[in-house]
Symmetry: C2
Subunit: 252 residues, 2 copies
């Protein structure tokens, strides 16, 4: 952890040195000077509730806040509480034993954590670099998000069929399977990745189509977990959808 | 403010004396003893993202957290940042001048703040008392939520028609109008309250019907602001919906 923290602070120093001019958001709103933490906490709430709409990079003045959030207790606690509510709901569902009771999981920032990647790429302060991220995917060394791994096992124990639905592409299937196994996941029912015909679709369109496909095959989608609203919304939806925190990036 | 703070702490003392046994939520999730603030902050995020689902009263151990939140900087900041994103979006909409461009506002905890009422009734730790709340409504002295009053005026300046859509009942119309004027609101296009035929409907059903009625009359609902997800979801929805914070109560 000492090494990781050192790395984080080195990255912070580098990022600060090359920081963009601070863009003062909402200049006509009351704000006290220097109250970045208060603002950034409100910005994060707006991101998590989807009030912020589409965004590309985190506000420049929120880099320190984001670094502390994802590496500190709060991200872990927020994730654990969402998992707790997910399990509470999951337990209320009568599982039939016909193998058709499904829970859908997104992968990145839901089952797997790419914090080590984002630590080396500005924590959401830099534009998304697809080449660099694809190299990271091939390494297949993303750790599990601990709260999600625990929930995954609990749902499996309750008899849910686990369906993984990711925006990653089909050519990344082997690396993705390797990484899931490395992180401790196994025994999923199905793993959907984007096929060639899905490239260019929004996440909402692509993921809704896959949920519709599942329902057409008789599956009952009781729950869905994702770090993006685009993992969850669109028709059909799961009976209950659970939004995991992600202050690093936005996917439409 | 000194008097208000004294009042708050007296209420806190009374509430503590009669506090329910602390219900440890999610006992199988990692939590450190005494780390109520961390948990309560995660609980609040789950409420705001609708992960918590239906709930009746705030967790007993989060009373202090909620009191500090709604009376401190964070509630004001969170509300102001949502209003900022709302205005950002509102400015992107071409307003036609035909009087059909609408923004819908909920009233309680959106335009008006009932914090003075909840300060005297346990800040969400007590079951909702309809009789007591109706007496408070008749007083017509709820202040404006400052960020919403500013947004309301800005939207009016941009040419939006302002439609108010509340779960309050028709018999409360006069008191509601008095209160809105007292708080500084004026010149709304329409004020919908529940008629007898709406009593018993969920907020989602009732509010969706009213949005459908507006659309049938040719109005374009660009934006909608509410402190409950049930203010915002259901078909038809506004082009963009904005969820204001409310850690005090939940309406289905």
């Amino acid at each position: 952890m000492g090494t990781l923290n050192s790395l984080i602070f080195i990255i912070l120093l580098i990022s600060s040195a090359s920081a963009q001019t601070l863009i003062q958001m909402f200049p006509n709103r009351p704000q006290r000077n220097g109250d970045d933490e208060l603002f950034c906490d409100s910005w994060r709430l707006s991101v998590e509730t989807n009030n912020a709409g589409m965004w590309n990079t985190i506000p420049a003045k929120c880099l320190k806040f984001v670094v502390e959030y994802v590496n500190g207790d709060r991200y872990a606690s927020d994730s654990a509480v969402v998992a707790g509510y997910s399990l509470d709901f999951a337990r209320t569902v009568p599982i039939t034993g016909d193998g058709k009771d499904v829970w859908v999981f997104d992968i990145d920032e839901t089952l797997l954590s790419n914090i080590p990647y984002y630590a080396a790429h500005g924590y959401g302060s830099e534009a998304f670099n697809e080449t660099a991220f694809d190299e990271w995917v091939v390494e297949a060394r993303a750790p599990a998000l601990p709260a999600s791994l625990q929930l995954y096992e609990e749902l499996r124990g309750l008899g849910y069929q686990l369906v993984l639905l990711t925006g990653r592409a089909e050519f990344q299937r082997n690396a993705t399977v390797d990484n899931l196994l490395f992180a401790g996941y196994h025994s999923w029912k199905r793993l959907y990745l984007r096929e060639d015909s899905d490239i260019g679709k929004t996440a909402v369109a692509y993921k809704s189509e896959k949920r519709a496909e599942l329902e057409a095959q008789g599956y009952r989608i009781h729950g869905s977990s994702g770090d993006q609203w685009s993992d969850l919304i669109g028709s059909p939806m799961a009976s209950r959808s659970f939004k995991l925190p992600n202050p690093l990036y936005f996917i439409a």
